[in-house]
């Protein structure tokens, strides 16, 4: 029950099924799905745009004769648009050509940069991909000129890597297009609910099922090395914390204490898990060293202490109602000193950090409902960055520039994606069920 042999399907209880075999997991990350026509659970709908976005044109890489499921140019265009930092439009013809012939045409369209690329199929079955980023106004027009050999199943990942290069070169910030998200998909199946823990690319594509259960799954958190996921499962009718290796499928019960076992959160160095137990009657934050399984209690208060979120290996934030309503506190792990950091409103919960970052996001209740708020840790200034009534479980992109969260659309929970200033908002509606508890990889 606790662990499983990597070569076999999971010997879980009958209500739980692990879908991935070892091979699938290893190659699945390199996009086995990329070759097959599969429908996406999540689709993208941009609800609000950003005005200061960089205008860029991205041409298709594949000609109409070259059959590939994911055109690299289209994926790059979608990535850049999702970030909100770019306003990407499609280029006209696939292939590399002399930009001087079309430069005035592009300038007329208000474009500042052009991405073009070409693909040729190799004898090995791989694609040789060549691409260029051209600046229409810079002194050195050729900003990027690269080529690579790419296996068909890796085309989508390669496209995300190109998006990262463009983003980093033009904005001077680290890209996040190669990151993953995890979420829980809750569906009604006859008389009961079915819960599926899903891992996907940041744009909701390439979904991979990690766990399926008839009982609730909640609070997924991905380790910063991308190897493991921690979550809470009610498969035994009470809350228990598990850690699952994404590559081998091995699963370990981390905590099954009496009462609640909740809110697992990876330390930045992935050696520890902070979580919440009620075994000693109070609801308090604990930490476990995963190598020794040595437990340490971090808070001790008769009120609620929950939702730990690490800022560094030495400090974390948590929610506590010790002052009345729930507020966010900072905790120094060596001294156990606590400092309240939120003061506006009577309900601030669900804090998310960027490791070593200068700001946090959390859920802030105001007269419009549950909002996502951004707070600067330096000056303490807080601003709400959503406006619809019901927004929960925010999570930073790895570079801290975007926020993933759950929001309500037509009475259903869906994923929302936005820039940290709240000006660029996207919803990823689900074709089925409710999408809850999203989290972004580090």
């Amino acid at each position: 029950m606790v662990t499983q042999h990597p070569r076999h399907y999971a010997p879980f209880s009958s209500s739980i099924r692990l879908i991935m075999t070892k091979a699938f997991i290893i190659f699945g990350f390199l996009a086995v799905i990329g070759l097959q026509p599969s429908y996406a659970i999540l689709e993208i709908k941009i609800t609000e745009g950003k005005s200061k976005a960089i205008p860029i044109a991205v041409a298709r890489f594949f000609t109409s004769e070259q059959i590939a499921r994911d055109d690299i140019g289209e994926v790059v265009m979608s990535d850049l648009n999702l970030s909100g930092a770019f306003r990407a439009q499609s280029g006209v013809t696939p292939g590399l050509h002399d930009i001087n012939q079309t430069i005035s045409e592009w300038k007329d369209k208000g474009v500042q940069y052009v991405v073009m690329g070409a693909a040729s199929l190799q004898q090995t079955g791989n694609w040789l991909i060549q691409y260029q980023l051209v600046s229409l106004y810079g002194q050195e027009p050729l900003a990027l000129n690269m080529q690579a050999n790419v296996a068909p199943r890796n085309l989508r990942r390669f496209a995300h890597a190109i998006s990262n290069k463009i983003y980093e070169l033009l904005l001077g910030k680290k890209g996040f297009f190669d990151s993953s998200i995890a979420y829980v998909l809750k569906q009604r199946k006859g008389q009961h609910n079915e819960y599926r823990l899903i891992l996907a690319d940041f744009d909701g594509q390439r979904e991979r099922e990690i766990l399926r259960s008839k009982k609730a799954i909640m609070s997924p958190d991905l380790s910063s090395d991308g190897r493991k996921i921690a979550y809470v499962s009610f498969e035994n009718d009470v809350s228990q914390i598990y850690v699952q290796d994404l590559y081998t499928g091995n699963r370990q019960l981390i905590s099954g204490e009496k009462g609640i076992n909740s809110s697992p959160s990876w330390s930045p160095d992935n050696t520890k898990l902070a979580y919440v137990l009620s075994k000693d009657s109070n609801v308090d934050v604990y930490m476990v060293d995963l190598a020794s399984m040595q437990k340490r209690r971090l808070t001790k208060h008769f009120g609620i202490d929950t939702e730990p979120a690490w800022l560094s290996n030495e400090a974390l934030f948590f929610t506590s109602n010790r002052g009345g309503g729930p507020q966010i506190y900072e905790l120094d792990i060596s001294s156990l000193n606590k400092k309240r950091i939120t003061f506006r409103g009577g309900y601030n919960t669900s804090v998310s950090t960027q490791h070593g970052g200068e700001q946090v996001v959390f859920v802030h209740r105001n007269s419009q409902g549950y909002q996502i708020a951004l707070q600067n840790l330096g000056n303490g200034l807080m601003e709400t960055i959503t406006a619809s009534p019901n927004n929960v479980t925010p999570s930073f992109s790895p570079n801290g520039e975007m926020v993933l969260y759950a929001t309500s659309r037509d009475g259903r929970s869906v994923l929302g994606l936005m820039s940290v200033d709240g000006k660029h908002q996207i919803v990823l509606p689900s074709s089925e069920g409710e999408v809850i508890d999203p989290v972004w990889s580090r």
Binding site: A216, M218, S219, V232, F234, V238, S239, K258, G259, I260, S262, S263, V276, S278, S281, V283, I304, D305, T306, E307, T319, G325, P326, Y347, T349, S350, V363, R365, Y370, N390, V392, T393, G411, I436, D437
Partner: protein, 192 residues
């Protein structure tokens, strides 16, 4: 409707645990099918088993005497069965005065049947943070168990004090009325 379901669940639970326990208990209790007429002599349980002779098995419908008594007691005890849920205000784990009488009824019953245990589960409405709701649900369950313990219910009679957070709503809508129904603690009886 939900109350009816809970009622049914309790009776089913009692019947089920009754049968399971019948097999597990030492022959002194389980080997004796106890007839209706003997039910009245419930004080004599220990004596009945002593000279029971060879184990002859228990028919499914024949429950050990304590469980029968429990079933009889709960069947007649509408005050008990109509108060298996305690409701709470928004973001609160404070027990409202109106539920104290009901909890007193539960406490007296549990004192009377020390072999009976209860599972106490806290729930929240769907709004706000799911993880904070897990903690809030536990707080609600804990407060109910604290009140019962204050009324002399033994610590051993709580089989589980836990929380489902906002994962198990009773009312599926999103009106204030639905939320009120979902902010609750459920008391579930079990025979041991």
């Amino acid at each position: 409707m939900s109350r009816l379901l809970i009622l049914i669940a309790i009776f089913c639970g009692v019947l089920l645990t009754g049968c399971q326990n019948a097999g597990k208990k030492p022959p002194v209790v389980t080997s004796n099918p106890i007839g209706e007429e003997q039910l009245d002599n419930s004080n004599d349980t220990n004596g009945l088993g002593q000279d029971a002779g060879p184990e002859i098995g228990v028919l499914e419908e024949e429950l050990p005497i304590e469980e029968r008594a429990f079933l009889e007691a709960t069947r007649g005890n509408t005050a008990l069965l109509e108060s298996l849920v305690v409701y709470f205000d928004y973001d609160s784990s404070e027990i409202k005065q109106e539920f104290m009488t009901a909890l007193q009824t539960h406490a007296r019953f549990l004192e009377q049947y020390p072999n009976v245990t209860v599972s106490i589960a806290g729930h929240c409405d769907e709004r706000g943070s799911p993880e904070y709701n897990m903690a809030l649900g536990f707080k609600r369950a804990e407060v109910v168990s604290d009140v019962l313990r204050g009324m002399n219910v033994s610590r051993d009679q709580f089989s589980n004090v836990h929380s489902f957070g906002s994962n198990r709503p009773i009312a599926l809508g999103s009106t204030e009325e639905d939320y009120e129904k979902n902010r609750r603690v459920e008391i579930t009886y079990k025979m041991n």
